[in-house]
Amino acid sequence: MAGVGAALLAGLLARLALVLYGLHQDRTMRVRYTDVDYRVFTDAARLVTEGRSPYRRATYRYTPLLAWLLTPNVLLTEAFGKLLFVAGDLAAAVVAYRALRRRGTPAGRACGCCAAAWLLNPLPMAVSSRGNAEALVALLVLATLYWVEAGSVGKAAVCYGLAVHMKIYPVSYALPIALRLSAAPGRGALRDRAAKGTVMARLWHLLVTMLNRDVVLFGTLAGSVLVALTVAFYHLYGWEFLEHAYLYHLTRRDIRHNFSPYFYMLYLTAESKWSFALGLAAFLPQLLLLLVVSIAFYRDLAFSCFLHTAIFVTFNKVCTSQYFVWYLCLLPLVMPSIKMSWHRAVLLLSLWFMGQGLWLTPAFFLEFKGYNTYLFIWMAGLLFLLINSLIIVQIIAHYQKETQAAKKLKQQ
């Protein structure tokens, strides 16, 4: 426990230092530390305190809950939101630690994984201290996985419904969660029967056995939470709530430069007749990979969701740094299952940072110096895609759940 406390304290102090530094940079330098989105959140919160719709603020495309949560930004201090996100970071680390302990990971190892991958990782530190709300969604996702593993389907469903309401991407976890719930202990008889046959027959069998009590309960409860929040906010803010909080994200086509390998292709073809077809072509690899990975690894829910998110982010049509937090929050849960040498892990991590650096350099010259570096940014984006894919392949290849390894030893 002392180790966990120390790690939490170190994580907290580092984040508070960054928040304070951010205040200084915002006041004294041309380039602000605080993310533009934080300004949007605060403006939306101000509108809420005035009894108006947060969607009066242009580019506010989030749940009204967030604007409500950040009303102390207006009533107390503008830094309140950042402190809330920092608290969310720490809470996420605590949930990840408890999930690891529940899976039987020794305390020291669990603490080390949480510290290395999350608490002392500069990326989630920077994301929260700059004022992005990703930590709150990370906390809800981790809580969902924790409660599913603990067998509390109701609590997991509530957390999941809330997570999907705040950010749409957790929707992709529905399939692995459903498969996991259908494969829980005591339901093996249903699975074992008719497990042979063609691929289609096995897929059909899998779909049929998915519909058990826990899956139906989870789906019903999560759906109810989502519908209740949607109806309530629709009643308050009308169509613009649906448009900005949900529909915008489903139809979003961002042609400005970002880490996505598709950005330049979408920018050049934005007004072309091929735009829709290319958008669809960009979506198909993502969909296929998510389906296959769900079926291949659902027995380890955290690993399945980690792969899901890494694939989703890597192949998405829009990708910014804060998206990395979506899968980094799950990394502590999967680290004990990945049997990889330190050299290989450090090499992959270096490649990941190098890939970002190679993208950020031409992006800086485009944004701040006005040079035409689109081709370089595009090539760096493709290289980053290759690096991320290599990392995902290596993680899959070195994944070894403890029980699987123990079974193999027994069989020998």
């Binding site: 300004r39 497990a195 042609i255 390998p261 050049l268 690899p285 027995r299 192949f315 006005g370 392949v393």
Partner: protein
Amino acid sequence: MSENMSNMKAPEYLAQAAVLLLFLEPESRCSRCFRGTVPVHARYHRPADCLSCLAPGDAGMLSLGQLSAECWEPAEVNTPCSSDTTSSCQWHTTKHTPVKLMLRVPVGHREHSSLVCALTLLTTGLCSGLILAAACKYGHFSQ
């Protein structure tokens, strides 16, 4: 101009025009001079437009505010004095020498479209194939 008026993230060809009320400060070195600063945000323009020019409007308007009312014709426009919309000021047209500004904005090259599309789809296909192969090899599809 507040951030509420304009979607700063929209590309140029989808952006809506906005009226900018610029409140000038008296220039200390020149009694009849006023000074203002206009921030310029270069949006994404259509590919292959190699040069884009931004020119401010030819006419400006001046508020009566702190000047003598005797020399001025009746007000032409009643509009907010500042971003605080509770008070209204009277604005008049005034003549000045219009300034044309040239701004060079980097844009994508349309002739790269085929190459970019082909290579992007090829690379994403290759990468997804690699991950698919790994998932099929190491995944657990049966008990």
